[in-house]
């Protein structure tokens, strides 16, 4: 087992790879470190220094301002709840569609796939979708954050393709043993698809978490708002302020902007590490013999 790594070329490659990836990881992280550092800095320091990772003067004022009101914490809870429920529902519907569409013999399959591709590139737009949501009675309900985006055609196609590439021998063996199509899906295909399912669970979760347009349009009751409403309001408000503002309006300090970004981003960032164990290799070992 160790023979494949112990050749000299292999070792050199490994070292080089580790260093390269380390540098890339750092480059990716640095700006976020700046945002975190900035959230702990005073406004004066943010104005004075261009780009820094560690503030000279440590201040919790930005976070104090952000957590001062219960509405912010409530929106955090709301967002976590909606994201959790929404991800499960969206992924379930998508997988239920992907499996049948993965079977080439299914009548109507190509037509459906063509329509799905069309739906992927063409979106009816803000107002028509809003009217449909309204007519279904979903206004001001959290379902309006989950259902209108329930199936992402892109995700659907990739999951379908993944199912198609699983060895058909597995299914056949099960069917010969008398399993129904549903049983095949549940007991055989899904456990083998963990990496793909984990990937799209992540995509859907991030999609719901980052969505600011849906809460903006559909939720009129401010008690139901999600984090993105605050995040966007705080980060965009600075740019809007120039034209129409009251003379007394002072745009939010950079520090508060950064603090809101940190609080709104860190929870969803933590989701991926949880999923990573499903990306482990070697799930297919021994599943197909001969």
């Amino acid at each position: 087992m160790s023979s494949r790594y112990n050749s000299n070329a292999g070792r050199v490659f490994d070292v080089f790879n580790v260093i390269l990836l380390g540098v890339v990881g750092l480059l990716a992280l640095l700006p976020f470190l700046f945002v975190i550092g900035g959230s702990f800095a005073t406004e004066a320091e943010l104005t004075r220094r261009s780009f820094f990772l560690w503030p000279d003067q440590f201040s919790l004022a930005s976070y104090a301002a952000v957590f001062a009101t219960p509405t912010f914490l409530r929106s955090l809870a709301v967002t976590i709840g909606v994201t959790a429920v929404g991800t499960v529902i969206q992924l379930a519907i998508t997988v239920c569609m992907a499996y049948p569409l993965a079977r080439r013999a299914l009548p109507g399959r190509n037509l459906m796939l063509s329509l799905i591709v069309f739906a992927m590139v063409f979106s009816a737009g803000l107002i028509p979708t809003f009217l449909m949501v309204k007519n279904l009675g979903l206004l001001n309900s959290w379902w309006a954050l989950i259902l209108p985006a329930a199936v992402n055609p892109f995700s659907l196609i990739i999951i379908k393709n993944f199912f198609q590439e699983l060895p058909i021998e597995l299914e056949e063996a099960a069917m010969i043993d008398g399993a129904s199509e549903l049983r095949v899906l549940w007991s055989i295909l899904l456990p083998l698809s963990k990496p793909v399912l984990a990937t799209f669970a992540l995509f859907y979760a991030v999609g719901i978490w980052n969505d600011f347009m849906s809460p903006l349009l559909y939720l009129t009751d401010s008690a139901k708002w999600t984090l993105q409403m605050f995040l966007r309001q705080v980060t965009v408000a600075t740019n809007v302020a120039v034209t129409n503002a009251d003379s007394s309006y002072i745009p939010p300090a950079q520090g508060i902007k950064f603090a809101v970004v940190v609080v709104a981003t860190v929870p969803i960032l933590m989701f991926y590490p949880f999923l990573q164990k499903h990306f482990a290799k070697g799930i297919l070992i021994g599943s197909v013999k001969g």
Binding site: L27, M97, R104, L115, T199, V236, T265, K281
Partner: protein
């Protein structure tokens, strides 16, 4: 190999009866056989009909001068005027050119980089290190373009930005990167790579995780080196997902994303910076958005569909797996 089998008539098609009888299976019977599959499809189909296709009926505002107050029915019909306005704009070809160049750069540079990074990550043996780097590289995806633009300014600002000094020192020049039209595209592509590559590796890593380990073991026994293993086993195994992603990205060729470009545009680089999406935004604000942006959306969709089906057909011609 699984492709070959999938294309043959599935053994399960004729469950009741001897497999060799040349029985004509009616459509009705086939639908009945697969009734569970249709049941599974049902929720998704309902979703598509309700939220994707039914609202498309309202896309007729692309052919109207839509005034929200008057509603869709009450707004005046203008036929193809929104489209002709769009094409008749003297800048149309410049916009098209800028858009296509950025799309091409993204496909030719950013896309392969994503795959390469996934492959490199896959080669790391120490799981902790691999997972850590994976998480780090996908963080930029979560920062909004506003922040990316602000940071770009901080880093590249004339005479003060750290990157400004660094790059100019290396090149021996004194270029104002933010104002120079020649540097606009490199900066945009660099931002795209920074923000999206890590995110893009997630799918490839999932595909790589599904590769049968036995193939690697067999190859090692046969004496294959690192590079050979990658060439003969790893790459072919992710070919499927690569093709699909490539086709889908080709379908998105006219979508550059408005926010990123808009934030980096200024008076001195506008000639190369203006793309479809920023143009639509500007016209949209002045005209009241919806008719015009729906018309452009329709145009992009038609182009996207043609490109996707075309790319898919090409892929099939070369015996690759496609979307279907």
């Amino acid at each position: 190999m699984s492709d070959l089998l999938a294309n043959a008539a599935p053994i399960v098609a004729v469950k009741d009866g001897p497999a060799f009888l040349p029985r004509k299976v009616t459509l009705r019977a086939r639908l009945g056989q697969h009734r569970w599959l249709y049941l599974l499809l049902a929720p998704g189909v309902v979703y598509f009909v309700l939220f994707r296709f039914a609202p498309m009926w309202d896309a007729q505002i692309a052919f109207k001068d839509y005034v929200p107050f008057l509603g869709i029915g009450g707004s005046p019909w203008v036929g193809l005027r929104n489209f002709t306005d769009f094409f008749a704009n003297p800048d149309f070809f410049r916009l098209l050119f800028n858009t296509l160049i950025l799309a091409a750069l993204s496909l030719l540079i950013a896309f392969p980089l994503t795959i390469i990074m996934a492959l490199l990550l896959n080669e790391v043996r120490l799981q902790i290190y691999k997972r850590t780097v994976q998480t780090l590289v996908y963080v930029p995806h979560f920062l909004s373009w506003t922040i990316v633009a602000s940071l770009s300014y901080l880093l590249l600002a004339l005479d003060v930005g750290p990157l400004f000094h660094l790059i100019n020192a290396v090149l021996g020049t004194k270029i104002d990167f933010l104002a120079d039209p020649n540097w606009f595209r490199p900066i945009i592509v660099a931002q795209m790579i920074w923000k999206n590559t890590g995110w893009g590796t997630v799918i490839f890593l999932a595909a790589l995780a599904s590769v049968d380990q036995e193939q690697y073991e067999a190859a090692i026994i046969d004496g294959a080196g690192r590079l050979q293993r990658m060439w003969h086993i790893t790459l072919p195994n992710i070919r499927g997902v690569t093709m699909v992603l490539l086709i889908l990205q080709i379908g998105q060729i006219l979508n550059t994303g408005f926010e990123q470009i808009y934030l980096m545009t200024n008076a001195l680089n506008r000639q190369v910076a203006d793309v479809f999406d920023t143009y639509v935004y500007f016209v949209g604000i002045t005209q009241g958005a919806y008719s015009y942006s729906t018309a452009v959306g329709l145009f992009k969709a038609v182009v996207g569909v043609v490109l996707i089906f075309g790319a898919n057909w090409l892929a099939k011609r070369f015996n690759q797996a496609g979307l279907f």
